[in-house]
Structure formats: structure tokens, C-alpha cells
């Protein structure tokens, strides 16, 4: 577990290596942070090169290096390679899937949601391979890992995170499980008397594949970040920044059925508190077990994700609005939530505060949820704070001795 420690930490002179996608803003932002903290730029191992065997960890990593695993997202070549890896498992898993031939024939189609369950299964296999290769290097504690392969896989699995948090006593909205179709969802909603629910792709990120659905048995209303398009008789799903509103039960059922083929996680829609005339939730980046950078994400719709271009408020403004007691409680919950991934130096927690400010609940944990450029905590951006934290922490039962 990441803890403050007086033992020797990471001093300048260590070399940073990043597995990531070339051209990703995350890489440039991290290099800029390294520069500010007195380190040379990181050595980049492109995901695609590593996946396809053109780049080998053993050729690059040296004792004493720090390894950061970055998001493999927003890179079509990498996406295709991950999908190809997941093809076999996805077929066995009985979810929507594409054969390796279909994957290689794919052209870039902006915003299209491509078999996220298959993507996850492929990514999990790759994380397992990465973990194995790292073990085989035999560097032990002489290779410092900012992330943990198993924990990244966990954080990309919403139902598993929900189970882990429930087991740890962390407040979460009650789960309606992983319904296989709209009909099953409605049955569970009725059984549990939850007539307002969020249905999310089990392995979606950045607001992808979210439906906020409510019914009183007579009326139906859904807000969603998914746009559907019919292509030669088949429904294709696209992410959209313009929230869609559906009121026809058959449209809603069709959308949810399509999402269910990629596995969904359904949970109760708990009301969020408001400020400045909008509702909000919090994104808190927890670094070395301590809540650090926080922004409130404001919205006039139930969906608050940052990529939907919603407004933000600073930690200071939010803290003032909800009061000291509610703020401390929220930060305690974020820290507790991060303990389901104790070997990860950082993670992004999405947290709601209820309208009376007296309760909170964790909505999501994001393995790569630390990209908040311009947001400062103790004068540092997230990446700077992570690099600094390495200098002051050690891992118990983990990589740093």
C-alpha cells in the first residue's frame, strides 16, 4: 500500500518509462511535469509496438527505472490491436464480438462504440501478459511501478469494483446487477422498487455508454450519451457529446438491449446535490492514498462526465458550498474507495454528494482518471504531485522497498 514514509524515495536521476500511445496529450503532459520536477523526458514504449512484439520490455527497462502505465485509449491502431486480442475470449463470453478478420478490416469511425466487452477482455489479457513479462524481468523492488496490472484491470470492470467497494463497506448506489436485456432490467427495477437507474457499459470510460433511465410504469424518460445509427439493418452505437433524450419505451429498450450485448452494470440513480443552479458530482484524484486534486463537475442533465464539456467548480468553491463536514466525509470516502486498488499510486474517484450534503456515494473508480490539466493541489498539477509523491512514499507489500 502507498504510504508516507521517511525511507529513501525516488530521487532525481531515476529514469521514467511510460507505456502509452504516441501523440497522446497524456504523454506530453507527463513529460512537462517531469521537466518541472527536474527529470528528463520519459522513455516511451508505444502500446502498439509492445502488443505486436516490435518492442520488448527486456530491451528497455533497467534496474532503478520507474514505469508508468498510461491509458491505451484514443488511438485507433491500439484499439484494433486490443480488440483483436479479445476476439477469442469475447466469442466464448457470448457478448457482441468481432473476429480478427473483421477487426483488421475496421476503418476509423469517430465516436463508434466498438465491442467494449471484447476490448476489455483483450486489455485484460494484455495486462496479464505485461504483468508476466515484468515478473520475468526479475527486477523485484528495483523496478518502481506507478500502477498495478491487476488493479488496472479491476478499475476497468465496473461490476467488480462495485462488489469490491460493497465488501469494503464503501457507500455505493445499490446494484441491479448486469441485466442481459431491457426486460430483465425492468423486472429488477420493479423488484427492487428502483424506478430511476443508471445503466452503464461495464467497461466504458469517459462517459461512454451511459443511460440515465426513469419510469413510473407509464412514462419513460432516458438521457444518454449514446447515439444509435442503423447500418444495413444493424444498430451501431456512437458516443456523443450532445446528450440524447428518449421518451419512447421501444427506443429506450432497443438502446439498452444493444448496450447489454456488451455487458452493462446497472445501479440505482441516487440524486446528486446542486450548486449554482446545476447538479454536480466530484472527480477526486487520490495520490499515494491521500485525496488530492478535486473538481466538481456541474451539469443541467443527470450526466456529469467531463468529456461532455460540462462546467467545473474548484475544490475551494465546492468545499465552501457543501461545508467542512460534508467535504471531509467526501474525502474520507474517496480515500477509502482507493483502497480497493492499494498498489496503484493514483486513481480518479467519481463521487456524488446527496442533496442534503450529508451522504455520499462512489460512482466510479478510474485507473487513468488523473488527467486534470490546470487543476492544482498544493501548487502542483496531478502528474507533478504523483512524481513528487514517489519521492516521499514507499510501497508496503509492493514494488518499492
Amino acid at each position: 500500500m502507498w504510504r508516507d514514509s521517511t525511507s529513501q524515495g525516488i530521487r532525481s536521476g531515476r529514469r521514467f518509462v511510460v507505456i502509452g500511445n504516441p501523440g497522446s496529450p497524456r504523454i506530453g503532459l507527463f513529460d512537462a511535469a517531469l521537466d518541472r520536477q527536474g527529470h528528463p523526458p520519459a522513455v516511451l514504449i508505444p502500446w502498439l509496438d509492445w502488443i505486436e512484439g516490435r518492442s520488448h520490455l527486456s530491451d528497455i527497462l533497467r534496474r532503478g527505472d520507474v514505469l508508468r502505465i498510461e491509458s491505451p485509449g484514443r488511438h485507433f491502431g491500439t484499439e484494433r490491436a486490443i480488440l483483436a486480442c479479445g476476439s477469442e475470449s469475447a466469442e466464448a463470453d457470448d457478448c457482441a464480438f468481432l473476429s480478427p478478420a473483421q477487426v483488421s478490416a475496421l476503418g476509423f469511425d469517430k465516436g463508434r462504440i466498438l465491442c467494449p466487452r471484447q476490448w476489455y477482455l483483450g486489455f485484460r489479457l494484455l495486462l496479464n501478459r505485461l504483468k508476466r513479462e515484468l515478473d520475468e524481468l526479475g527486477m523485484g523492488s528495483e523496478l518502481v511501478l506507478m500502477n498495478d496490472c491487476d488493479e488496472i484491470a479491476l478499475m476497468f470492470d465496473k461490476p467488480a469494483c462495485h462488489r469490491a467497494m460493497t465488501a469494503a463497506g464503501i457507500p455505493v448506489p445499490s446494484s441491479l446487477g448486469q441485466p442481459s436485456c431491457y426486460g430483465e432490467l425492468v423486472t429488477r427495477m420493479t423488484e427492487m422498487d428502483h424506478l430511476r437507474v443508471f445503466v452503464k457499459l461495464a467497461h466504458g470510460s469517459s462517459g461512454s455508454g451511459i443511460v440515465a433511465y426513469q419510469t413510473d410504469g407509464r412514462r419513460h424518460l432516458a438521457w444518454t450519451t449514446v447515439e444509435t445509427e442503423a447500418h444495413s439493418g444493424r444498430m451501431q452505437l456512437y458516443n456523443t457529446r450532445k446528450l440524447q433524450r428518449l421518451t419512447s419505451q421501444s427506443d429506450i429498450a432497443g438502446l439498452i438491449d444493444a448496450l447489454c450485448k456488451n455487458r452493462v452494470h446497472a445501479e440505482r440513480w441516487i440524486p446528486k446535490a446542486g450548486m449554482d443552479g446545476m447538479c454536480f458530482d466530484l472527480r477526486a484524484v487520490v495520490i499515494a492514498a491521500a485525496p488530492a486534486h478535486v473538481v466538481a463537475r456541474l451539469s443541467t442533465s443527470p450526466v456529469t462526465n467531463l468529456h461532455l464539456l460540462n462546467q467545473r467548480r474548484s475544490a475551494a468553491v465546492t468545499r465552501h458550498r457543501i461545508g467542512e463536514e460534508a467535504w471531509s466525509a467526501a474525502m474520507r470516502t474517496c480515500a477509502a474507495a482507493m483502497r480497493i486498488a492499494p498498489k496503484s499510486l493514483y486513481g480518479g474517484i467519481d463521487l456524488l454528494v446527496t442533496p442534503d450534503f450529508k451522504r455520499n456515494a462512489v460512482l466510479e473508480i478510474n485507473a487513468f482518471g488523473d488527467q486534470l490539466p490546470g487543476v492544482l493541489h498544493n501548487g502542483l498539477e496531478t502528474y507533478d504531485a504523483e512524481i513528487r509523491a514517489l519521492a516521499a512514499v514507499r510501497v508496503v507489500e509492493g514494488a518499492i522497498a
Partner: protein, 312 residues
Amino acid sequence: MSIHENLTTFQGKNVEDFDPDQPLGDPRTVAYRIRLEWDEGNAGTKWVDKFAQLLEKPDSGKVESLVIGAWEEVGGGTDSASIVEALAAARDDLPGLKHLFFGDITSEESEISWIMQTDLSPIFEAHRQLEYVTIRGGGGLALGRVRHERLRELIIQSGGLPPQAIHDVLASDLPALEHLELWLGEPNYGGSATAEDLAPLLGGEQFPKLKYLGLKDSVIADELAGVLANSPILERLDVLDISMGTLGDEGARALLASSQISKLKKLDVHHHFISDELVAKLQSLGIDVDASDKQKPSEWRGEQHRFIAVSE
């Protein structure tokens, strides 16, 4: 657009969520809100249970301002009947109740047009000291024919106000009423009233003390402006509020042509579809005009659509 934030103040008082585990503060300086949060609903607690706990507190008899927040399964169709019953039964427990907000509920808790109200007349019959009442949610709403000597302000916020509720208000005997605000909403959500439904009001006989008239959030704002412009009631008003609706040039022209319009103290048309040219004319009437928040019609299937501020 809809409502996303709970009240922070009501009638000049800070709103505080009632906590059964805490003593009451000074009930004259605080507006207590009773609400149920999700986990309380899970545990089987009902709104009326918390209300009963409020009444058990010493000093609860001094409460002047009460805010009714989300009740159990408010977004799932549970109506306010049990609350009305409990509040009416508390007639002697709350002898000083002057200010009531019935339904401080955000769209995160329930869309405004999904809030199910009921016949609220028992509250007016029981609480004769009430002066300011705001009701949110028009679904199932009825008021009976209220006879109330003290009521000075009545606001009904809705995404669609049923004609029956309007008939009830207009058939009520409210000699002290100074401020009347009705959010009419749109037909999809029950707001099917026409200008004819509002005719009894325009004659100017009713509500002798009325100074503020708001016919807001309406899809027939142009038509309403047309009939208001020439109606006797305009002579008695300080403020005419046709905001939040679909008011456009047609309504603006009717208002500009009225001989009475410049005798108002204030005209509120914010959230409107009026051209800049006519906005400028309204603003040169020599009265206070709020023409902020100009809207653009939305294009859909080749047609232009005007949306009101609060519906759903």
C-alpha cells in the same frame, strides 16, 4: 432546462434540513426542510415520520416557515396525499405557520412534471395563518375552492399545470392575494390550458389586492400577451410577468400597443423569442423591463420550435 438545486433561502430565512437528532434552532430565523434521502427511503422511513419527529421537538410550535422536500419515491409516482393529511392534522401543532414551500424537489429527485401532487385544499383549510405558499408540481394537483383571508402570495411551479388546477385557483376567494404566479407549462405534461381558462382572471374583478401577476413558462405566451394587453386587470398590476415561455414578436407587439403597459412598474419577459428591434422598443417604455435570456428557436425536421424554460 429544469431545476437542479434545492432552496438555500425561503422568505428571507436560511433553509436547513431538519435533523431529528439535533435540537431545533430558533424557528423564527430558520426555514426547516423535511426531506427523505435515498437510504432513508430504503430503510422504510416515510416523510410523515420525520414530520412527526419535528412536531415532537420543543419549540416546534414556533415554526413559521416549512419546506417540504423530496418524499418517499417521489420520482416513482408516489403522490403527496400522506403529507397533506399529516400537515392538515398538525393544525394546532403549527399555529404560526406562515410560509410553506410544498415540493422543493430537483430534477435529480424527480422531474417537475413527474411530481404527483394531490388535493391540497385541506392545508389551506387547516392553516389559516398561511401568507406565502409555493407549490411545485402540477400532476394531480387540485386546490378545491380556497377561501383564505391571509394568503398574500401563491406560486404554482409546474411543467404542465392542469386546467382544473387553474379553475380552482380562479374560483378561490383570496381577498389578501397580492402575488399570483402560475407556471402553465406545456400540453405534453398536462399544461393544456387555453387563454379561455384564464378569462375569469383577466376581467379584473377577482383578487382585489393583486399587484403581481405571473403567467409564466407558457407555450401560449403570445396569445396570453394579446389578451392581457387589453384586459382590465392590467390597470391594477405593478408587475406583469410573462417570462420563461415562448413569447415572441406577436406578443411583444400586442404589449407595445397596450395603453396600460407603460403604467406597470415592471414587465418581465426573460427567456423569450422577441427580435432585438422589439426588445429595444419594450426597453424604451420607461418602465423596468427584464428581457434577458433571449432564446433561439430550435430547428427540427425543417420546422422551428420554441421551448419553454421548464417542462419535462
